[in-house]
Symmetry: C2
Subunit: 347 residues, 2 copies
């Protein structure tokens, strides 16, 4: 198993280390050989080579069977809107060059963590939804710039029918494997791109007669995700709406520090925790590594087809939760473990 390892910034390296330990333990147990190839990305790459997604990193990813990713982003870039090179550019370049067109973000509840949620238990019990976010199109990649001596700025959102079909096809197929409900989220009462989304999905409905399709406006979904998250099964949406809704969804389960994600690509696929680089905690050995470990589980299952290996990882993660072998964010009044201790225990 040839895996590219992009640790990135902030807590990225620490949580990635734990996922490597656990993956190696699984490989040993199931007799696989993993070849890890580390490469630079994010602020770390800017510091080292002046570029957030260097060509060498791209080659490592292209040569790999899968990419395991930590997190990128550094506060020193956030309040400098004029910075020429920013870590996020590396992320976007990576998505585009690897053709990672679909970001898959499950949101589910861990029974033992349900009371951590800001939402009431009865609202979230049974929540098990997937948001499928289009990741290489829309306003993230359209033309943008300034006019009038810099006093006017513009961004362009563009979608083609093929981009919508590719993402929607995945959505229909996932829905067939699950609750058979698909919700297409858009702003078709205002945006032309949304009307293209809606028409395209409507045209595909006949090929998936078993799937019940609904169309909802993004503002309404931003409400209903908080009100009745368990009413959703598979949600498909465009890039920017997906950015906002996946983050919103991540907090409802009370298990944000545990949520993995994958990005399905034309050339390879990438697995990463949904949390960010959490710079305040960097280097302190206190960050929760479970989302990254569960991202590795997703990688075993989805990239390598190794279901049993993935299940073994999920089982030990559940065990760590049940036995309280957890970092400070989950420890409550009990003694917290260090990031590395959790990784060692899991491995």
């Amino acid at each position: 198993l040839n895996i590219a390892l992009l640790a990135g910034d902030g807590i990225g390296p620490e949580v990635i280390d734990q996922a490597v330990k656990v993956s190696n333990a699984i490989a040993k147990k199931f007799n696989h050989e993993i070849v890890w190839t580390s490469a630079l990305t994010g602020a770390a790459a800017i510091d080292a080579v002046g570029e957030p997604y260097p060509d060498e990193t791209h080659e490592v990813c292209m040569a790999a069977d899968a990419v395991l990713f930590g997190a990128i982003g550094h506060p020193r870039f956030d309040n400098d809107p004029t910075a020429k090179v920013r870590p996020e550019q590396g992320l976007l370049k990576m998505r585009k060059k690897l053709g990672l067109f679909a970001n898959v973000r499950p949101t589910f509840t861990f029974p033992s963590l349900i009371d951590n949620s800001p939402l009431k238990r009865e609202r979230i019990e049974g929540t098990d939804l997937i948001i499928l976010r289009e990741l290489t199109g829309g306003i993230y990649f359209g033309e943008r710039g300034r006019k009038d001596d810099g006093n006017t700025a513009f961004d362009t959102c563009t979608y083609t029918k093929e981009e919508v079909q590719r993402l929607a096809k995945l959505g229909f197929e996932m829905a067939l494997q699950r609750g058979k409900k698909l919700c297409c989220v858009d702003k078709a009462n205002v945006l032309e791109t949304s009307r293209l989304w809606r028409q395209t999905v409507q045209d595909m409905e006949k090929d998936y007669p078993e799937v019940t399709v609904s169309y909802e406006f993004v503002d309404a979904v931003a409400m209903r995700l908080v009100q009745w998250p368990s009413s959703y099964d598979v949600i498909i949406t465009e890039n920017l709406f997906g950015d906002i809704l996946t983050d919103e969804a991540s907090v409802i389960s009370g298990s944000m520090g545990l949520m993995p994600s994958s990005s399905i690509g034309v050339h390879t696929s990438l697995f990463e925790p949904i949390h960010g680089s959490y710079p305040q905690a960097a280097g302190k050995d206190i960050a929760n590594p479970l989302a990254t470990v569960l991202s590795a589980a997703m990688m075993f299952e989805d990239a390598f087809g190794l279901k049993e290996e993935a299940e073994a990882i999920r089982t030990v993660v559940n065990k760590s939760l049940a036995e309280g072998i957890v970092t400070e964010d989950l420890a409550g009044k009990n003694k917290a473990c260090k990031t590395s201790e959790v990784g060692d225990w899991l491995a």
Copy 2:
């Protein structure tokens, strides 16, 4: 007091009726004369004259001191992305022609309703925030269309420095009157328009030394609004982000059916409940009129400078809640009142 009355679609007419009753009672008590002028808008206007915001309606609004608005939108337009005339176009045209550049949406909790919230009590207690949404710019009003035989769609988001300054100025001034905290919400790590927003607000900071300003990404705010809504005071943001975040914020208080809003304009100002046209309830005399009644209170205070009148309305609304004179959405196990009964009682 010369008020334009746009009842609109769905439950619009029913809830507007109650606000009129209450406003008339207040006018009588405080010796004001109100001249109401009704005009058509939304699907109702399309049916009557083929246009969702007819010229006559615009003239009525321009001649008025304030506009009281119900709701617009009808489901028969929602799943027809190709419909040439849609109610929402009327809304957008009205905003643009009246120059309603700032939508003001407070979110606060009513102690007696706090347990209706999907969020836990301890998360929302003390929430009192205002989202100031830019309403006449951005991707709502940029160039849009199709290319490649309709297979490619595009929308353009544009902002000028002046548009940002105008909105931000209001935000700074509101913050000064309140908790002195301003949060500018954008996606400056990706969008050029967001970078213009951030720069412009940064440049204005020096004029408001008492206000503490923060800059947050829209995806992070979509999370934090659910996690710690009480940490926000005044939020300023662009049109589309504001659409999503105001709806999200509206459910956290547990009092969505009660939240009023205003839109501040160049030519006049408009007051409306934040809920939609709720077509399923239309004509049944069951919709909650309190958000519209409280919008009338906002109108007395903000448009006419009549603070005592506004307070009198708020007091009687609180009383109706305390005494359980409420519609079915708030009645719980108690007997629900009809929409019109609540209006009569308040008046």
